[in-house]
């Protein structure tokens, strides 16, 4: 059996153990081949449909897919009163969830190919037509080909489908660990400088709101670092920790006046509820959008 068929049989399809090894590879290959033929055949069929027919297909598929996930969620899971040997943690649709998610991943992988094709086509055109700044496109294409070659080679070597050589190993390590990861880190570190310039603009005192924002931010920033504790408890000598149960009002105020306590109060009592309220709003909005998409009421991009 070819290594590719072996890979397909091992990682994509879990065929019954009762089948012989050769039979499993054969079935796996046939299934993959069949899927390709089906997809390749389906695309021209869909292209020939008139827009209204195409829309009807999309509406039906969207509704059925949504119905499947909704039914899986809402149907009771415990069927032991009818089928005593049934698994009480899942209903009859649950086992199909993972394959459905695999389908989504496959669609994503196909789209990645499409995206990469678009990117390469654009930059090839830039180079061939010598458009402005075409040198950047050359860099991109060279980097793309080099990285893809070493990545694929290294992955195949890790799966023992091709021989692993020090050249591949070292080359991949230089490109990935010592170049790509470091460039990522460099981009990430830029954020520190951007935060500084953005914070400068945000904290300029132009209105009452900006003043409140700046004051609160200063308290929180100092309160959550050791400087806050140093100022409050060492320099000012404020008492640490919660006040005793029988303490008078003044003692209670002093116990609550430390910058770390105030910063914690701002974060947990003011900030957290507001964030939760926004999250609720976003969640409800997402659910409403999902309903509109499921029932094909959304006409934006569908």
């Amino acid at each position: 059996m070819t290594p590719l068929t072996h890979l397909i049989a091992q990682s994509i399809w879990r065929l019954p153990e009762t089948l012989s090894k050769d039979q499993r590879y054969l079935y796996a290959s046939l299934i993959v081949l069949g899927a390709f033929v089906l997809v390749l055949g389906l695309i021209p069929v869909l292209q020939t449909l008139p827009p209204r027919g195409r829309r009807a297909v999309i509406v039906t598929v969207t509704f059925l897919a949504g119905l499947f996930f909704a039914a899986e969620f809402f149907l009771p899971v415990d069927w032991r009163s009818i089928f005593p040997k049934d698994d009480p943690t899942r209903n009859f649709l649950t086992p199909a969830i993972q394959p459905a998610q695999n389908v989504l991943q496959i669609i994503g992988a196909l789209a990645l190919g499409l995206g990469t094709y678009g990117l390469v086509r654009l930059h090839l055109r830039n180079v061939v037509q010598k458009r402005t700044q075409w040198g950047y496109s050359v860099v991109l294409l060279v980097a793309f080909v080099t990285m893809a070659t070493f990545s694929i080679w290294n992955t195949l070597a890790e799966k023992e489908l091709v021989k692993k050589t020090p050249f591949v190993e070292r080359g991949f390590s230089i490109l990935f660990d010592f170049t790509l990861v470091q460039l990522d880190a460099a981009m990430f570190s830029l954020i520190a400088f951007y935060i500084f310039s953005a914070a400068y603009r945000a904290f300029r005192i132009r209105s009452v709101e900006a003043s409140i924002l700046m004051f609160t931010a200063m308290v929180v920033m100092i309160g959550v670092v050791p400087l806050g504790a140093y100022i409050s408890y060492t320099l000012l000598g404020l008492p640490q920790g919660p006040a005793p149960a029988d303490a008078d009002l003044w003692t209670r105020i002093l116990h609550s006046a430390g910058l770390p306590t105030i910063a914690n109060w701002v974060l947990t009592t003011l900030n957290a509820p507001v964030q939760r309220a926004i999250e609720f709003g976003v969640g409800i909005g997402g659910l409403a959008m999902a309903i509109r998409l499921w029932l094909s009421l959304e006409r934006g991009v569908t």
């Binding site: 669609i107 789209a111 499409l114 460039l183 709003g281 909005g285 997402g286 999902a290």
Partner: protein
């Protein structure tokens, strides 16, 4: 692997059903002609202003859905971009849509093509203007920042799901003097956008955008349904706080709503 089901907490399932019903009933109301009010959102009013500035300067408009993978957030972002493209098409303003997700890229190509078609200018559509840059966060960020700098964009629209790269986009846009309008569901990125952009759409305003721009009855109705659901959550939160303050967190009603297994657990059954 374990999956969540309605039976885990019937109250949560009831809430989902309630929201769905509120949304659908109000969509029907809007369809039969009920007049629904939507408040002004300044950030969305500024979209036309930003497009106008780009047109005057002859510099491109960028649209960035971030690293949003294909889902409801991406659909909403593309709906907004479709509207913006329809406006852009009227003045033949150059545009770039930059995405970090290949699935969004494929759908974006179709959506933008439709937008130019609907605006009566299919000749202006150029597939190269919709670009998939990379699905790696900072490779995508550097690609976007580079394009903003090189092409000196005049307006930048960022709608979708953003992570740490949000500030890189917003600050780079700020440096080249672009008018920037951002809207995101990622509340951790809202402060960065507020600090660096001219207008920011916060939280569920993001989902109100398409209704605001198009005034379609279906979308307006859905928005009213969402508001009813929010009112329900607010009342539940206030009611819960009052009950927990008076009767404690062990009160039967709080157990009923919050305990795993929901009503099953409350009545002594459950899993």
């Amino acid at each position: 692997m374990t999956y969540q089901h309605a039976q885990d907490n019937w109250f949560a399932a009831f809430v989902i059903g309630f929201i769905a019903l509120a949304v659908l009933i109000n969509i029907l109301r809007a369809r039969v002609g009920a007049q629904l009010y939507i408040r002004r959102i300044p950030g969305l009013d500024a979209i036309d202003e930003a497009i106008g500035r780009s047109t005057e300067l002859g510099r491109p408009v960028t649209m960035i859905p971030g690293l949003t993978s294909f889902g409801v957030v991406a659909v909403q972002a593309l709906t907004i971009f479709k509207y913006i493209t329809q406006q852009i098409a009227r003045f033949a303003t150059p545009m770039r849509l930059l995405t970090g997700d290949p699935t969004v890229f494929a759908v974006a190509q179709e959506a933008i093509y439709d937008a130019y078609n609907e605006a009566g200018r299919p000749d202006l559509y150029d597939a190269d203007n919709i670009r998939f840059l990379s699905d790696r966060q900072f490779a995508f960020a550097s690609g976007v920042a580079g394009l903003i700098q090189r092409e000196r964009v005049a307006a930048s629209f960022m709608f979708g799901e953003f992570f740490a790269e949000s500030l890189i986009f917003a600050e780079t846009g700020n440096m080249v003097g672009a008018i920037q309008i951002a809207g995101t569901t990622s509340f951790t990125q809202v402060p960065f956008f507020v600090a660096a952009c001219d207008y920011t759409i916060i939280g569920d305003e993001f989902y109100a955008t398409s209704a605001y721009l198009s005034r379609e009855p279906v979308l307006l109705g859905s928005l009213v349904g969402q508001d009813i659901a929010k009112l329900f959550f607010a009342l539940t939160a206030v009611g819960g706080a009052i009950i927990a303050s008076i009767a404690g967190t062990d009160a039967p009603i709080i157990k009923l709503l919050g305990q795993p297994g929901g009503w099953d657990a409350f009545f002594g059954g459950g899993k």
